[in-house]
């Protein structure tokens, strides 16, 4: 019926983006190989750090495709049925995304980089062979070793990713089957699976954010961190959904998606931006107020060395959606949605940058052509996977118990 085929122009854009990414990667590797002894460590951190940033950012978006789809299933909501295929297509990036992250973790385990300070086995040895004190021994990190040790870390990472992928596959498979068979039995299976997935995801997404991101600043901890990362991924994914829907609509597809669906997606974008800003501020204010050395170092590092980037990122991600998406008509206006969408998508990429870089490059950080190039490359890879998934099935589901209701969706 309604089949998406990748237009040549878009394909060229994607290939160009991937090309830029490959060039940047080569540039990064050359930079590492050509670096002098003193600079070597830093160049390595920069290269792998950026792979980790993009790995996390795009994997997070893909994961939120599965998450948001599961939310709609569990709530048995009707409005999102016409745009469901977009969530599905975005979620199909989890395979590649998980692979990128696993490569970064594996490289860390092989000590090719030092993003995860705690992976250094020296930190755990209190006495050297000759019986003297090990100057590198880190009592705090050693105290965390019951949780933060490599076997357990790997077990968690593989379990979480495996289960996320397993559910993503199931949702996708059922959705394609439903197109053929119709009926409600598949839908009830989806509702049940979505509920199980959400419970699993609710716990594990927190632990994943400690493992994969918070452990970069190994000494530091924040109980709110998981929520903060989760909401950042969520808003990025909402923007991606909206941009993809608007893109498909501009190509004359998805005509079943009316203004009300776009308005609802716009509302989500607005609301989740606030959730993210709220969590940013909650984490910041409590730490700022209590001013405990072991907590406040995290923000001191960011405010001292990344001042403009840090506050600018927050200001953009909070103020732009607030001012420009509060108005009802703006949430239905393509121009506003696309402009704000691209701005805050980049804003949240910067947020991921600020999660990783201060703990790995410290005061001597870089933001240049390499960072931008690698980001564009990963964006190209992401788009390649997502558009492929989009073109494999009709862009609007053919059969769903709530399809008819969704086609008549109307809000004011």
């Amino acid at each position: 019926m309604e089949q998406f085929t990748l237009p040549t122009r878009m394909r060229n854009i994607i290939y160009t983006l991937v090309g830029i990414g490959v060039l940047s990667l080569i540039m990064g590797v050359v930079n590492v190989m050509g670096a002098e002894e003193a600079e070597h460590h830093h160049a390595v951190q920069r290269l792998w750090g950026n792979i980790l940033i993009n790995g996390l950012f795009f994997f997070g978006i893909a994961l939120m495709g599965t998450f948001f789809m599961a939310v709609q299933y569990a709530a048995e909501s009707a409005w999102a049925v016409t745009v469901k295929r977009v969530f599905e297509a975005v979620s199909q990036y989890v395979y590649v995304g998980a692979l990128v992250l696993l490569v970064v973790f594996a490289a860390g385990a092989m000590h090719l980089h030092h993003l995860y300070h705690w992976m250094d086995p020296n930190l755990y040895i209190e006495f050297l062979a000759d019986g003297s004190l090990n100057p590198e021994y880190d009592e705090i990190i050693a105290g965390k070793s019951a949780f933060l040790n490599q076997p357990f870390f790997w077990a968690r990472a593989l379990l979480f990713m495996g289960v996320y992928i397993w559910f993503t596959r199931r949702f996708r498979k059922r959705s394609l089957e439903e197109d053929m068979s119709g009926g409600t039995s598949l839908h009830y299976n989806n509702v049940r699976d979505a509920a199980i997935f959400l419970v699993f995801f609710g716990f594990t997404s927190m632990v994943a954010s400690w493992d994969w991101i918070m452990s970069i600043d190994t000494h530091w901890f924040s109980t709110l961190f998981g929520w903060y990362v989760f909401s950042g991924w969520w808003i990025s994914a909402m923007v991606v959904f909206l941009l993809l829907v608007l893109y498909l609509k501009s190509k004359g597809l998805m005509q079943q998606v009316n203004e009300s669906h776009v308005h609802d997606l716009g509302k989500w974008m607005f609301a989740v931006s606030f959730l993210w800003s709220y969590l940013f501020f909650s984490q910041f204010m409590l730490i700022w107020y209590s001013d405990i050395p072991e907590e406040v170092t995290y923000y001191i590092a960011r405010i001292d060395h990344y001042r403009w980037l840090f506050w600018g990122m927050f200001a953009v991600n909070f103020i732009f959606p607030m001012l420009f998406l509060m108005d009802r008509d703006n949430k239905r206006n393509k121009g506003y949605l696309v402009t704000i969408g691209f701005i805050i998508l980049f804003g949240h990429w910067l947020d991921t940058f600020l999660l990783v870089v201060p703990g790995t490059q410290h005061a001597d950080w870089h933001f240049g052509a390499f960072e931008i190039g690698l980001m564009l490359g990963f964006a190209g890879l992401f788009l390649f996977v997502v558009t492929r998934a989009l073109s494999k099935a009709p862009v609007v589901v053919k059969s769903h118990p709530f399809l008819d209701e969704s086609l008549h969706h109307e809000i004011h």
């Binding site: 501020f281 910041f284 204010m285 700022w288 107020y289 001013d291 108005d327 009802r328 109307e410 004011h412």
Partner: protein, 176 residues
């Protein structure tokens, strides 16, 4: 000719919508509609102007934020500088994060209350005010449209009555 108000009662919101649309097509001006629940899309059929309540809410919120911040400035910094947990207390902006939650709450409080009170005043539906709906059943299971003869000078009363009847009203009554 003294102005009269003619009311047409419907027993279904769908009939009300199509009826109102048909009457407007014929050139009639409908003054108002009374329904027991919000009928989606009726505002567009009747051509009701977009409410400015949102702009009011923004202004009330702004007033709330300014009041809260000036309050903080006066109580905590100017009148009697409060030193809590060694936080800087010389200027407002250095203490700002601590004041944000209450400022936020007060903004919401002012916006919400201001909006509710404005709404009640504008519609004059304050407690104790006599209800102005033309028929008690418009709060139950009937829908009513109100047509003023004064606003429809090119239609006679009989015309309006017969046009209303055509749209499937269950009852028509008028008031001077």
């Amino acid at each position: 000719m003294a102005g009269k108000t003619i009311f047409g009662m419907y027993d279904d919101d769908g009939t009300l919508m199509t009826g109102a649309a048909a009457l407007i097509d014929k050139g009639l001006h409908i003054k108002d509609a009374y329904t027991p629940f919000p009928v989606h899309g009726l505002d567009r059929v009747l051509g009701v102007k977009w409410t400015r309540l949102a702009q009011c809410a923004f202004i009330y919120g702004l007033i709330g934020a300014i009041l809260a911040l000036s309050g903080f400035w006066f109580f905590m910094i100017s009148d009697w500088p409060m030193n809590i947990g060694g936080k800087p207390n010389g200027v407002l902006y250095e203490n700002l994060p601590a004041f944000i939650p209450i400022t936020f709450e007060f903004t919401v409080l002012c916006a919400a209350h201001g909006m509710a009170i404005t709404y009640l005043l504008r519609n004059w539906t304050l407690p104790g005010v006599k209800a102005r709906n033309p028929h008690p059943r418009t709060t139950d299971d009937h829908f009513c449209i109100e047509i003023s003869t004064e606003e429809n000078n090119n239609f006679s009363e009989e015309d309006i009555n017969s046009l209303l009847k055509e749209t499937g009203t269950v009852e028509i009554f008028e008031r001077a």
